[in-house]
């Protein structure tokens, strides 16, 4: 089930990336118009560079964080598997299960945030010589803040899974796979 979710998420992200590629081309064209009042060619080039770099960084960060959230979710799958084995052995795992639900919610929030961030286009409105630098600075800061917020959400998912793993580890005999084996051997010996 989580693998299916992971696949769906990847498809969703891929679709978003394709849409964004097209939007970036449109944005670059309109950006040229927005900086048309700037006479200094070097400033124009630098502004275009900034826009391109920010967009590339967005793709890089969202890609990296997608990988992280996949890894986090894979650990949660392992935890659920361990819980299931413990359940079979009659061990009470209710506390860990409650943490699993919280972790799943945190992962969903993180994935949604990644998707939203992936779809973002960073640009500015029409500017002149006097407002160019401040507007570009605002754009840079806005992007930086967005990525930091996204990072926080991924970290929250990480913490939630870590809490789940810690809670599960505290359950007595949770790693004890021998219970069933001993019973099996006893049954075999009695036969």
């Amino acid at each position: 089930m989580p693998k299916k979710k992971e696949k769906n998420f990847k498809k969703e992200i891929e679709a978003t990336r394709e849409e964004v590629k097209l939007k970036i081309e449109d944005m670059k064209a309109s950006f040229k118009e927005n900086i048309s009042k700037i006479k200094d060619e070097n400033k124009k080039i630098s502004s275009e560079k900034i826009i391109t770099i920010i967009q590339a960084l967005n793709t890089k960060f969202t890609g990296q964080l997608s990988v992280k959230i996949d890894q986090i979710e894979n650990v949660l799958v392992g935890i659920e598997s361990r819980i299931s084995k413990a359940d079979t052995n009659g061990i009470d795992t209710s506390l860990a299960k409650a943490e699993v639900l919280k972790a799943k919610e945190a992962i969903t929030i993180a994935r949604d945030a990644i998707n939203t961030q992936t779809s973002k286009i960073y640009t500015i409105g029409a500017v002149d010589e006097s407002t160019l630098r401040s507007e570009m600075k605002k754009l840079r800061d806005s992007f930086g803040a967005d990525i930091k917020t996204l990072n926080t959400k991924i970290k929250a998912a990480h913490t939630a899974v870590k809490n789940t793993a810690t809670t599960l580890a505290k359950v007595p005999k949770v790693d004890d796979d021998s219970t069933n084996k001993v019973e099996d051997n006893t049954i075999n010996n009695n036969q």
Binding site: L57, V75, D175
Partner: protein, 93 residues
């Protein structure tokens, strides 16, 4: 005549020796090869349960392993470092 006969005999002996050495060498190679194949198959027979055990160990996912796995996932915030390139361009404006 005798010298010629002797030479022929020596040639025959050398030829026979070469043939014998070749046959021995072929047999040795074949035997070594078969031993190697035997070893390999034995090794596979021994390794297979080990692989299964390893797979089981991975599948077991003890809580300690799960905790290690989650601890190994590092989420580093490199935003400020990466934005330095943007800052350099900003300074040119």
């Amino acid at each position: 005549m005798d010298t010629n006969n002797n030479k022929d005999t020596i040639k025959k002996i050398i030829l026979i020796l070469i043939i014998i050495i070749s046959i021995v060498a072929i047999i040795k190679i074949q035997r070594d090869g078969s031993i190697w194949v035997e070893n390999k198959s034995n090794e596979q027979e021994i390794l297979s349960p080990v692989d299964i055990e390893l797979n089981n160990a991975v599948d077991k996912n003890t809580t300690q392993e799960l905790n290690t796995s989650i601890d190994n996932i590092k989420i580093e915030d490199t935003t400020d470092v990466d934005l330095k390139i943007v800052d350099e361009e900003l300074n040119k404006l």
